[in-house]
Subunit: 298 residues, 2 copies
């Protein structure tokens, strides 16, 4: 399996990174974050979500954010949408790319969205149909692909099945999320081998959390498995609701440092991302969780 | 190249990790650290150094530490020695394994030990001879193997040459240090290919710093190159004198999490190491820099 010559990074900091922040972040700050990341060359910046403001209050300003967003030509700004109501709100705010999510474990599905995995697919079908009617490109997330905080082990074949279903619904790409950051190299390889028997590797993105320090190593393993798209979060924003104080998403800067070192093209300026990471971390009153970010700016 | 079934971890936290700490750490604390790490199953714990107390005041208590150390059968407790005077002091304190150090770059050699690389080997010859006379096992360190803060790029062939010289001097094992944590996977692979043309892979240990977040990924690459010995530091103790605020040695807990995940034996109890990492970090008044350590104890 040849490593890709070019990789697409999907920046999820403004959504996945910020969604669990306890203190409200002004829309101006989020907007500046999204625009800085796009200016640094990130080709995809997930900028918000249209979920219940009661369940995820931090994302309540997403409509305003999308309305005010100055879009760069060629940059995609997907929003997470859970249902028809969310999609309608997203469309109303000018969203042109959306992301749907399901789980690869029953325990997580029940606790996160209060339905079974099978039911979640049934519920998403009309959302996907409506998105297609509006020519909204769709991305799919599968969570808990390497383990579940409730059910433990997750079979690679189950992930492959769920990923295929998302493509059937009309998703262009499926992001496989190690939601609790539990996976190591061989598990990643086994997972990718199983999923790639059902869907093309170029439709797969990997989404790692650095909870146990394995994020960059798991990206490396995925590259060696021919994967060319990765979700990541500036300054390692985000945490793990299942492990208080634990690290969040793999940091964009750390992944970029790896890709630059391997001579893989991204079109992204590492220093600009690091500066944005230092800036948003200062806004949140916390240390930069990206090691490359800290070292580059020291 | 087959991955090893068993890996030996060399814990360097008490020496490499603590040596640059600004506030004096009581010998009792260092002693407890060394003994806790040995009890957790670390087969090698580098416990101190016999260098100039003026240059490295934090290591001034090493003689007392070695005198008071309760040794576990089967555990090795090497000390760093720079010269004959240091070796004599180490022998006097009961040290039975020692480590010598050289650099793979002229700039670092001059600034760190004020002599050329060639001269450093000449100076170490009598130290190695005296160590042999006392049946002291020797380990060798080569620093800056993937780049130098002064000279930039370092040729893999130069590292190979220096590693071979250390074996010629009587070292059992050579630890190749990415002192500034600059390397990525392909550089590690090229380095190991070059060094393995000169010395057997079982004589090579790798020593990574996590400055740019690449530590665990570089361990993974080295495993895939057949390397079975790694230096690491509990709680990621240590910093980088060339990048203020940057991360230190790759954390023992993060490496162990990888090895456990790959089914590679170490004989080390990850939870005990994580608890020791939390304890020493509290003593130093800092956060645990190991991601796996934080997650495991959350």
């Amino acid at each position: 399996m040849a490593r890709p010559a070019r990789v697409r990074l999907i920046e999820v900091g403004p959504r996945d990174g910020l969604q669990n922040e306890p203190v409200p972040i002004p829309v101006e700050t989020k907007l500046a974050l999204v625009e800085r990341l796009a200016a640094a060359g990130l080709p995809v910046v997930e900028a918000g979500s249209f979920v219940s403001a009661r369940r995820v209050p931090q994302m309540a300003g997403s409509a305003e954010l999308y309305r005010r967003l100055k879009r760069r030509p060629g940059t995609a700004y997907p929003a997470l949408v859970p249902n028809l109501q969310g999609l309608a709100a997203a469309l109303d705010a000018g969203v042109t790319e959306a992301a749907l999510f399901i789980s690869a474990s029953e325990g997580f599905s029940q606790r996160n969205i209060a339905c079974s995995m099978a039911e979640s697919l049934v519920r998403l079908a009309p959302v996907a149909g409506e998105a297609a009617n509006h020519r909204v490109r769709l991305r799919g997330y599968v969570s808990c692909v390497l383990g579940c905080p409730y059910d433990g082990a997750v079979a690679p074949e189950t992930v492959a099945e769920m990923a295929e279903r998302l493509l059937d619904l009309g998703c262009d790409e499926v992001s496989l999320g190690d939601t609790i950051g539990i996976g190591t190299a061989d598990g990643v390889r086994r997972l990718l081998e199983a999923v790639a028997r059902r869907i093309p590797r170029e439709r797969i993105a990997m989404h790692f959390h650095d909870t146990y320090g394995q994020g960059v190593a798991n990206v490396l393993t995925s590259l060696d498995e021919g994967i060319a798209a990765f979700d990541c979060s500036v300054a390692g924003l985000g945490g793990c609701p299942f492990a208080a104080g634990a690290t969040g998403n793999v940091a964009t800067e750390d992944v970029l440092y790896l890709l630059d070192g391997l001579g893989i093209e991204t079109g992204i300026d590492l220093r600009s991302v690091a500066e944005t990471g230092a800036w948003i971390s200062a806004q949140l009153g916390r240390d930069v969780a990206s090691r490359a970010g800290r070292a580059l700016l020291s």
